[in-house]
């Protein structure tokens, strides 16, 4: 169980073998390479050109900048190479009911006054005030997003322009390729090939060696399963059970297709609810990524395809690609000497762009809890910790996703009728009751999502709070209304001065001329 400390630096490094070269595989490789010494850890990644990766266009969360900064990535260069655009949030259309729309921004709503969170002041003005203020007018990122504007946040914490952060939309395939060159330049060994056999230790059951179709053998001390939905090592070989969440998140298929980019470059992802699921729209520099996530219980593939194609901004680039999945997670992401990262460990639909965040969190935890070089190997105590953190991440995101579905007024559509009436996790029931009663927002120190995210979606999905924190009443109503007006105007005045997102990209990180043939291939 313990790892003895030995300092015989001469011996061979600890061998980490990664199976699968999508976003998960290359983020794992790059992260580990950056943080751990080559003399202590060797890294081999096996990927096959014959096996596709899932991502088409990918929307991310602001956390990814921490990861890129850790690698020392030059932002403009990375954006050029991945055809990236900026993202200030997600616009949800028709989710509560057709015609409704709201933005879940990466940023704050208002500011606390008198030690009381903003939503209480806002709700009080709704109840008692003379003016009706829209919540979204108090989010810098929402107002900027609505104006298709973008600039970097200001670092001066007193400035209204410091109250938001940003993420990116990029081509996930190009991001993986970018990280691949980054990692290979730094000594990560890449093997092109497919795993056809796995050897295990006869007594411990640990993985010892992979055999590739080429006949090559790849031995390792720790295996990272980034094989995607197939979960080649953790699921198939280690046999870790699957926890199915379909009863909470009914969508199980996606059709994805890029289309020609038309119109202004929006600095947000759009998610539009449809009768049997929802359609994503992710603006990249050279094209727009689209996809229909749907439940096969409620619509046929053909109908879904027609729905998707009929709603595109521009001409489709190719035939939609079908993906099948189940929402849920492996009961343990790390078992024995096998750790699954990315889709091999679990799947949550991309409604809140959490896939890459989950990869990043797992890579960060793995680096901290990684077996020491020249040690007795995997330490069960640290494996338990990895699994505990991973489970917490998944469950918190899960509740937030379910909220989008269950709080709807799309009466008469079977998927949405089901979502309104399905039994919810107790943790979510409790959060909803607390918001309804007094506009209290879930808050925790670890994992997603922050208070303002819950506020955006709770209010956006039409959940009404009947009360608010009475400490808010300490502020005279007229003073409150003055502050609200001032705050709202300060945002508007600042946003009016901003550059458009399209112009900002053109100036900062415009990708090379993209040829027609390249677009056709993509």
């Amino acid at each position: 169980m313990g790892e003895a400390i030995r300092d015989d630096d001469e011996s061979a490094p600890f061998r980490v073998v990664i199976v699968g070269g999508g976003t998960a595989g290359w983020m794992s490789a790059a992260g580990i390479r950056r943080r751990l010494e080559s003399k202590d850890y060797s890294l081999t990644l096996i990927e096959s050109d014959d096996i596709g990766t899932v991502g088409v266009g990918e929307a991310t969360l602001p956390h990814i900048k921490i990861f890129n900064d850790m690698l020392g990535v030059d932002e403009a260069q990375f954006m050029r190479e991945t055809r990236a655009t900026f993202k200030l949030g997600i616009q949800f259309c028709d989710w509560d009911q057709p015609g409704d729309r709201y933005i879940h921004p990466f940023g704050a709503f208002g500011e606390p006054w008198g030690g009381v969170e903003f939503q209480h002041h806002w709700l009080r003005s709704q109840r008692q005030g003379h003016q009706r203020f829209a919540l979204e007018d108090f989010s810098y990122s929402v107002v900027a997003a609505r104006n298709n504007a973008f600039e970097f946040p200001n670092e001066d914490s007193k400035s209204i322009r410091s109250t938001y952060s940003y993420a990116y939309h990029f081509d996930a395939g190009l991001y993986a390729a970018y990280l691949r060159s980054w990692a290979m330049e730094r000594g990560v060994r890449r093997i092109e090939g497919q795993v056809c056999d796995v050897s295990r230790h006869p007594t411990t059951g640990d993985l010892t060696e992979l055999t590739l179709k080429s006949g090559e053998h790849v031995a390792g001390d720790l295996f990272i399963d980034c094989s995607g939905f197939r979960s080649l090592l953790l699921g198939k070989i280690m046999g870790v059970a699957w926890q199915d969440w379909t009863h909470w998140l009914p969508c199980d298929r996606a059709l994805a297709v890029p289309c020609k980019r038309v119109g202004a470059l929006t600095p947000y992802t759009r998610s539009t609810a449809r009768p049997a699921g929802w359609i994503w729209r992710i603006p990249l520099q050279h094209r727009t990524g689209n996809g229909y996530i749907f439940s096969s219980r409620f619509i046929s593939d053909g109908e879904a395809r027609d729905t998707l194609l009929s709603g595109l901004d521009g001409a489709a680039q190719g035939e939609p690609r079908l993906l099948r999945f189940s929402p849920g997670r492996r009961e343990r992401a790390w078992s024995g000497n096998c750790v699954a990262i990315g889709l091999a460990s679990g799947f949550l639909e991309p409604l809140e762009s959490t896939s890459i965040y989950l990869i990043q969190a797992a890579v960060t935890d793995l680096i901290n809890l990684m077996p020491r070089p020249r040690s007795a190997g995997v330490d069960a105590r640290l494996v338990n910790e990895f699994n505990r953190l991973n489970e917490m991440q998944y469950e918190r995101i899960r509740d937030f996703l379910i909220l989008h579905y269950t709080a709807n007024r799309r009466v008469g559509e079977p998927l949405w009728d089901y979502a309104r009436s399905m039994p919810l996790p107790d943790s979510l029931v409790h959060k909803l009751a607390l918001f309804r009663s007094r506009a209290a927002l879930p808050s925790h120190q670890y994992g997603l999502f922050a208070r303002d995210s819950w506020l955006a979606v709770l209010v956006g999905q039409g959940i009404a709070a009947t009360g608010y924190d009475r400490l808010a009443d300490a502020l005279p109503l007229s003073a409150l209304e003055e502050r609200l007006s001032e705050f709202r105007n300060r945002i508007q005045t600042n946003v009016d001065d901003m550059t458009s997102h399209g112009a900002f990209i053109a100036n900062y990180a415009q990708a090379m001329e993209i040829t027609e043939s390249e677009e056709a291939v993509a």
Binding site: R35, R381, L382, E385, R388, L434, R438, A440, L471
Partner: protein
Amino acid sequence: MSVGPPLSRVVVMGRDVDLWLCVNAIARALGPAGVQVTAIELPTRLRSSDISATLPPLEAFHAKLGLKEPSLIRATAGSFSFGQNFVPGSGRTPNFFHAWGAYGAPIDGSAFFPCWLKATRYGLKLSYQDFCLTAVAASNGRMLLPDEATSAFGRTDYGYHVQTMAYAGYLKSIAANLGVKMYQAQKGLVERDETGSIAALIIDGSLRIEGQLFVDATGPDAILIGRSLNVPFDDWRPYFSVDRVLSARAPAFTRTPPFAEIRIAGDGWTALHPNQAATGVLHAYCGELSRDEAALASASAAASAKLADVSFHAVNPYVRSRVWEGNCVAVGGSACVLDPIHDVDLHALQLGLVHLLSLFPVTGQFAAERAEYNRIMRSYYERIRDFQCAFYAVAPFGGDFWQRARGQSVPQSLSHKIATFRARGHIAPMEDETFLPDSWQAIFVGLGVAPETWPSAIDGIPPNRFREEFHRTIEFIKGKVLEQPTHDGYLDSIGRSPAA
């Protein structure tokens, strides 16, 4: 403002600090929103020898209540405390300081602790607390007044040692100015309505006081939530060996140390809480292993002084299964009794009040608030319990008491935490922690728990960077400490207590 009329009448029954801090908090925060507070005061249980040690967050809570630090210090013969100095006395374990400030500063973006850990494995002789500005200042009898440089370095927090009776009186006098209605009573009787909620309290058999929300601040007696509502409690005695304490007073130190000192002996431990006027002495032991006379001898030896006002008390740690039941909220000792080792009583009270304010009912419909309050308070209490259990579970001291302490139950959440610390020096992050990783590390390291490994990510930092940073930090601390006023000098400057 909402469905139904606002909840506006709160009755708090209790005694001493539990009662008066609670009354201040509610009246101050919610008075402007129209909430009226009635206080029913039961006879005090305090002795003039009692000195309370507090944790750093009380300072900010006082500020919210509009209490001014200098007047508090003067009124309570108070002093500042930058942490706890543990004195094992004999054996292999050197003294160690559990400070209310940051230990070390990150090196090239990596946390300090693993860097220190690795360096010690390669022969570094400096202890963990040598890198804690707060600990070094306090050990030298100094204050630590924060400035830009110390803030950049890290937290430098403090608590107080206040004369408990004076503190309760101080809070009461302020409550009187907040328009709180006050009654004194020998006992209270609960009148319940048809739903089982409390309708009114009948005090001393005659006066009937109605309310919508009742707060039980009666301490471990739990007169409302326990005796009247019969809400059961979970017994936490299986986790702890201390079941009895001796409380007494020793003379004041010539120079008031700005910290508490915990002196270890084979039969338990003795805490010295110095303030301007006296030194509070608390000796904790196990009644089955030591008789009271032996405890007195042990406490006198530990304090090296003749003790006055000696009294003995049982300690029965527990947590109320539901700290909010019906329309009755338990705060302080009626909700939870913790082990005396880390001076957490007042902090546990503060946590209960802070969350009661943030979940204070809007109307008579407060089932969601109650559920959340029960959930979150339970979580906070359990994390404190784990921290205290950790101390006893890993303490390496000799003697019957410590042997018994090491054999007590360990909650699963804690065994996981100890395991990850032993494996890698990793403090498993959990929600609702009172004690920061710095505290966990200070206690574990001080008690001689040596992590087997450190995170590999720090292996990329060259050894000379460690040396440079260690040297820079030690020099910084030395310089900053010399700039500080002495604790006594600072107490002089804000005005001494007439009692001192």
